[in-house]
Subunit: 249 residues, 2 copies
């Protein structure tokens, strides 16, 4: 069965089980080699990259839908996703699936709900679905070189802006870093999210003042430099800071 | 024509022009008498209060839809609304319209997109629509005493939380306050949004440090106390601070 037949077959089923006009697109960010990356699928039908999105069942809460979609499409489980924006332009999905007529479920207008999450990519064992020829982490620096479908580039950029805004007033990093990390690794994470270099002294002072770090009785060894201290997050204080925010008031 | 007949008639038209399963609900906050209030409609069909929400046309961008809805339902024009959350529980609108069968457009499952905005209530001349017996600003302190439909109480609470989070890292108030205001009025606005009292000295120092205020060559006269200085927002600096946020980094 080629990918066109596959869509026609799935379309009949989709009309039965999914709400029309509504989709969910998860943007999963990972941090690796001092860079951010994002989880994408390359579709069989036309070789473009997509977020691992999908549709909402008629009898399913939206929040459950996005978790099921991520599991179905990429094998990713046990993630906590947060809504960040809705993409509702009338023609955002209009020009896709030109090989099909309007009866195809996948071809209608979709308003999509964007969700995002931050995770350490090592955690996941990716499994691609039947519509995709691959399921991969792509570095953000590689995005200009690949073809992204529809408005998925805009969705990723908006997720990144949300993350940038969020890091200015909430602690972030718990899910992105390994359990033990150096202050320099944490600084690098903040720098790639904020898109700017930070002054080392200021950063160390501010991050320590938050009271969310535990200094461990260990050092990172093996580097060329003096072995740096290792830290982990203080889970209770981290959760409190996440709850209350780092208010200016 | 009673309200039941009215719904049946509208339902036929609605199926033609609107996307099924999708709605938009604007939460418009105003500030008056040192309190926040919210714009609500009281529906003819059953005497409950609603946000002035509605549906998205098949040929309409979501952002245009919410502005049209607000104009149609409350006569409110020229507002800038921001998305804040999607409410997608499968049964959130299920138990409404019990007097009708499932063919009524209004009775299906709706995933609703929440938008919010902050405005000085004096700006608007409210005009209720044909479904409503009134269209009013209701003080937040009055909400526990009125009957709100479906999950509209939860939507308002979530909008307020969003506003609270936002005020911790962006300047807010430009649209809520009169053109000229005292620091004490601005502090009161921050206090009602944050839901806590602020130290006067700290607040004055921090707000002045943001560089978003212009001290005017005028004082508020007529009060019992020493006439306080009047301020207005410095529009350019305010816009910059809104754009860049008050980052901790």
């Amino acid at each position: 069965m080629d990918s066109k037949e596959q869509f026609l077959k799935k379309s009949i089923e989709a009309k039965e089980i999914f709400i029309p006009h509504l989709s969910a697109d998860p943007v999963i960010f990972g941090f690796d080699q001092n860079e951010l990356k994002v989880l994408l699928l390359k579709m069989n039908y036309r070789k473009q990259w997509f977020l691992p999105g999908g549709y909402v069942r008629k009898d399913e809460d939206l929040d459950d839908a996005v978790m099921r979609i991520l599991k179905d499409r990429a094998g990713v489980t046990e993630v906590y996703l947060e809504q960040f924006a809705v993409f509702g332009k009338k023609n955002r999905s209009e020009f896709y699936f030109e090989d099909f007529d309007e009866t195809l479920f996948h071809k209608q207008r979709f308003v999509t709900i964007g969700f995002y999450a931050l995770y350490n990519p090592d955690r996941f064992n990716l499994i691609r679905d039947e519509f995709s020829e691959s399921c991969e982490w792509i570095y953000l620096s590689e995005l200009p070189n690949i073809e992204l479908a529809m408005d998925h580039r805009e969705i990723i950029e908006k997720a990144l802006l949300t993350l940038r805004e969020k890091i200015s007033h909430k602690p972030i990093g718990f899910n992105l870093l390994p359990e033990k990390f150096t202050l320099s690794e944490l600084q690098k994470l903040y720098e790639v999210i904020l898109g700017k270099e930070l002054n080392r002294g200021n950063f160390y002072r501010k991050i320590k003042n938050l009271g969310i770090l535990k200094k461990l009785d260990e050092r990172r060894t093996g580097g060329a430099h003096k072995a740096p201290d290792l830290y982990s997050f203080d889970e209770d204080n981290y959760a409190k800071a996440l709850e209350n925010g780092l208010s200016n008031w």
